[in-house]
């Protein structure tokens, strides 16, 4: 297979980003879960909660470090592989990345050292504060990254400047409060919480199946199931919010996810299953659920959701307008300040569609020479890969609902059935450990593959965003990253499994002694609460 610079650059970004996101969701969720456990420790003073904090904290650390390591690449590869993108939108896109460093990553990385090294150097409360700062830092990190990503999906608060040949920020608040970014942030962070909850639940279930560390496991399941139930509900609700915002910001993505070729009279049905066919422009054997799509997409029964064919027609009109803008831009560039006002006005009137003219650059050097066929071909390019999106989305959503069921079941058993769990449920909990990662990666796939052929929706085509590199360069670094990341990932998995098998290894004797005394007291002191003795009430 012959791959060109654009495809290799995309492959490399997809690879490094998806590897990075193997570690990020667990960091996001586990940091909060660990902070919750330590809070319980500080409030009750029971050593078992400190043991849990340290045990899950050790697993957090093994995972965290690879999130950090693979994150380094993310910060620099825009400049390396996406040079024109960096020039073209750096004025807007760079800001949230830099603020992420200032506001979030510094916080998280500075205090994570004290989380591990500070147990003997800090008071209980000071250490708890440190743990929460790590969790808050991680979560704020996600906020800024998703503001950056949200802008790629829905580029608000920016305008093209002909003098600098790039997009420039016009309103920071629009970029910050971009509805797509806000919905994506909560959705992504919740997905991280689900991942951590499923992970803690699964590992604890494995301990219960093997009758090991049962005190730690039961408490961990209680925390994971309550936290996880809230998180799974949030992830699905905010996923719906993303769908709603897509219906007016990224219509093509939404139509592709639905395999919806023709505009349906409102309210549109939701296609549960079907086989989208891009050649025939049809979704075969579609099983439709009436009304649902219209309700999700527009939250009304009267608004229409446009189908792919109508959107392609719209793209054609925008390309034509983009060519007018491009022509005006060339005049402006030649004459600079001497440009006639009428040309400036023409440019302003059409500049929103400039990016659509760039779609033609794949086929020619000057978009002004485009024929009607060229324009039709470029308009067809605006359809992303429908079938992969259709299926990826459905698997993700299916998994989301499955997580709600699992979490609700464990929450119920933990709250109302004396924390007794049937063995089949425990086995299921172990089996589904990888599922949240699959859902999360598919989610990113839908978001980013669905944005094609754009890096910034409607503004800059992917094909134009790359660097002036050679195929050999990209092959070398791609092979380098794949090998390197895979080795690190295998080492990480090895250590994870080793530490899970080993179980909690810190404060073991102290915790056992405390629990034994405590249970003894529960049996002997009739009518008195477990904390009746002031010795244990601290």
């Amino acid at each position: 297979m012959e791959l060109d610079i654009v495809e290799l650059s995309r492959l490399q970004f997809a690879m490094t980003a998806m590897y990075h996101f193997l570690f990020v969701p667990l960091t996001l969720g586990l940091s909060v879960l660990v902070a919750i456990m330590e809070t319980v420790y500080v409030m009750t003073g029971r050593p078992i909660w400190r043991q849990m904090t340290k045990f899950w904290g050790a697993l957090f650390g093994i995972n965290f470090v690879l999130g950090v390591a693979t994150g380094i690449t993310m910060e620099f590869q825009f400049g390396m592989n996406w040079s024109y993108y960096s020039h073209y939108v750096g004025d807007i896109f760079g800001a949230p990345l830099a603020i992420e460093g200032l506001m979030a990553f510094f916080l998280e990385a500075t205090f994570v050292g004290l989380f591990f090294f500070g147990w003997d150097k800090l008071s209980r409360r000071a250490h708890l504060t440190v743990t929460w700062l790590v969790a808050i830092g991680s979560n704020f990190s996600a906020l800024w990254i998703l503001i950056a990503n949200g802008w790629m999906q829905n580029p608000v608060g920016a305008a093209f400047n002909p003098d600098t040949m790039r997009m420039e920020m016009t309103s920071f608040f629009d970029v910050l409060f971009n509805e797509v970014a806000q919905a994506k942030f909560v959705h992504t962070v919740s997905a991280g919480y689900v991942t951590a909850a499923v992970f803690v639940l699964g590992v604890s279930a494995w301990y219960l199946l093997n009758d090991r560390h049962t005190r730690l496991a039961r408490r961990s399941i209680t925390v994971a199931a309550s936290f996880g139930l809230a998180a799974t509900l949030s992830v699905v609700v905010l996923g719906d919010e993303s769908g709603y915002s897509a219906s007016h910001t990224q219509k093509m993505k939404l139509a592709a996810i639905e395999g919806m070729w023709e505009t349906h009279s409102a309210p549109a049905p939701f296609t549960a299953i079907g086989f989208p066919d891009k050649e025939a422009r049809e979704t075969h054997y579609a099983i439709e659920i009436p009304l649902v799509m219209g309700l999700i997409g527009t939250r009304s029964l009267t608004e229409e959701i446009p189908g792919i064919n109508d959107l392609v027609d719209e793209a054609r009109r925008r390309i034509e307008s983009g060519i007018v803008a491009y022509d005006a831009l060339m005049t402006i560039r030649e004459n600079r300040d001497a440009t006639p006002a009428a040309v400036r006005e023409t440019f302003e009137a059409n500049s929103n569609n400039l990016g659509f003219a760039f779609l033609l650059l794949r086929y020619m050097d000057d978009p002004r020479e485009a024929t009607a066929e060229d324009i039709a071909r470029a308009a067809d390019d605006t359809i992303p890969g429908v079938a992969p999106l259709f299926w990826a989305f459905r698997i993700m959503v299916g998994l989301g609902f499955a997580f709600i069921a699992v979490m609700a079941y464990f929450f119920w058993r933990s709250s109302f059935c004396q924390q007794s769990y049937p063995r089949w449920a425990l086995r299921l909990a172990v089996l589904i450990i990888p599922a949240p990662w699959i859902a999360a990666e598919l989610g990113w796939f839908v978001a980013e593959f669905g944005r094609q052929p754009w890096t910034v929706d409607g503004v800059l085509p992917t094909a134009l965003s790359v660097s002036h590199l050679s195929v050999q360069d990209l092959m070398l670094t791609l092979a380098g990253f794949v090998t390197f990341y895979t080795v690190l990932f295998i080492i990480e998995m090895g250590l994870m499994l080793k530490y899970i098998r080993k179980g909690p290894f810190q404060d073991v004797e102290e915790t056992e002694a405390w629990e034994a005394r405590h249970e003894h007291r529960l049996r002997t002191h009739d009518g008195q609460g477990p904390f009746a003795d002031p010795e244990y009430a601290s």
């Binding site: 650390g61 093994i62 470090v65 950090v68 390591a69 693979t70 380094i72 690449t73 910060e75 620099f76 825009f78 400049g79 390396m80 040079s83 960096s86 020039h87 750096g90 004025d91 760079g94 800001a95 990345l97 830099a98 603020i99 460093g101 200032l102 990553f105 510094f106 990385a109 500075t110 205090f111 994570v112 050292g113 004290l114 591990f116 090294f117 500070g118 147990w119 003997d120 800090l122 400047n161 003098d163 600098t164 040949m165 420039e168 920020m169 016009t170 309103s171 660097s467 002036h468 590199l469 050679s470 050999q472 360069d473 070398l476 670094t477 390197f484 690190l488 080492i491 250590l495 080793k498």
Partner: protein, 387 residues
Amino acid sequence: MILFEYVDYGLLRVIWWVLLGVLLIGFALTDGFDMGVGALLPFVGRTDVERRVVINTVGPVWEGNQVWFILGGGAIFAAWPPLYAVSFSGFYLAMFAVLAALILRPVAFKYRSKREDGAWRSGWDWALFVGGAVPALIFGVAVGNVLQGVPFELTPDLFSRYEGSYYGKFFGLLNPFALLTGVVSLAMLLTHGAAWLSLKAEGPVAERARRIGSVTGFVTIAGYALAGVWLAFGIQGYAIVGEVVTDGPSNPLYTEVERTASWLAAYSERPWIAIAPILGFLGMALAVRGLRAGREVSTLLWSKLGIFGAISSVGLTMFPFILPSSINARSSLTVWDSSSSHLTLFIMLVVTVIFMPLILAYTAWVYKVLWGKVTEASVTGDTHNVY
């Protein structure tokens, strides 16, 4: 938002040029000793316990220190997008090598202690060596190349193109002057790492670090002087032709640029900048003396001063150039034509003014909590919470 227009665009550009320097120097002062310590590790620690002492001197802080690097990347992206776009793709394979080394480092810190066996640990020790030495060398090589001009040009669309085949270009980076600056950078950070170990470790480890550090400190001074002489007589400089517009649009092609006899003309135009190289020499010389005399806190401070002087001397000498082009002078990036927009620079400044003091405050608090020497007893006594 009208507020931002009260701060002059040209002034904001200068402020962001200074902040870029602050971030790079912040990176060199903090993560610099982590890299130096990593590169020294196989030589100052002979036994596993000694090596654990060495690693634990930076164990709790390297992660925070590394953020200076990440933030440096983010700040270049946000404040100097053309610089971010041109330099990282231009130094492509060198950047890849830096990233690979810096990815290896966190993993080595964290995973080394997770298994007992000797091969596992010595493997990660060499990973720490690579993670420290390779970036330190490459950063210096990059500075040497920037001073000579980088072979890129901008198209009218501001797409950056590079001359020559890629592998040729990669080895082209390794020219004699750049190798010299690379050695200076490596020697400087090794000295800084040695000064750190002299403060945080004791016994034979600190002793060896001081011995190596006084040699590398001397190499730094000699190399820095040689590079200065070379720069005076062997390397052309750049200058903007005609009137300098400080608040024009960020389009490098709008500025006319020519080559001049030497960068050092800057020192006759702005004699006060000579303070930077003087501080560079003074700091390094006093650091060497401190290492020899076995002083601890003051040695680290002198070494910091030396690094501050050396890095700022490069920036001040080149001002207003950031990334000159060797094949098309007009494409060169300067402070006046390759920044973000007025609004973005202003917003980023506000955010920095709010958060930078906070960062410095909590970083200082963390160092205070961790104050004191790392000893063999402290690492063997607590096997769970240390590396």
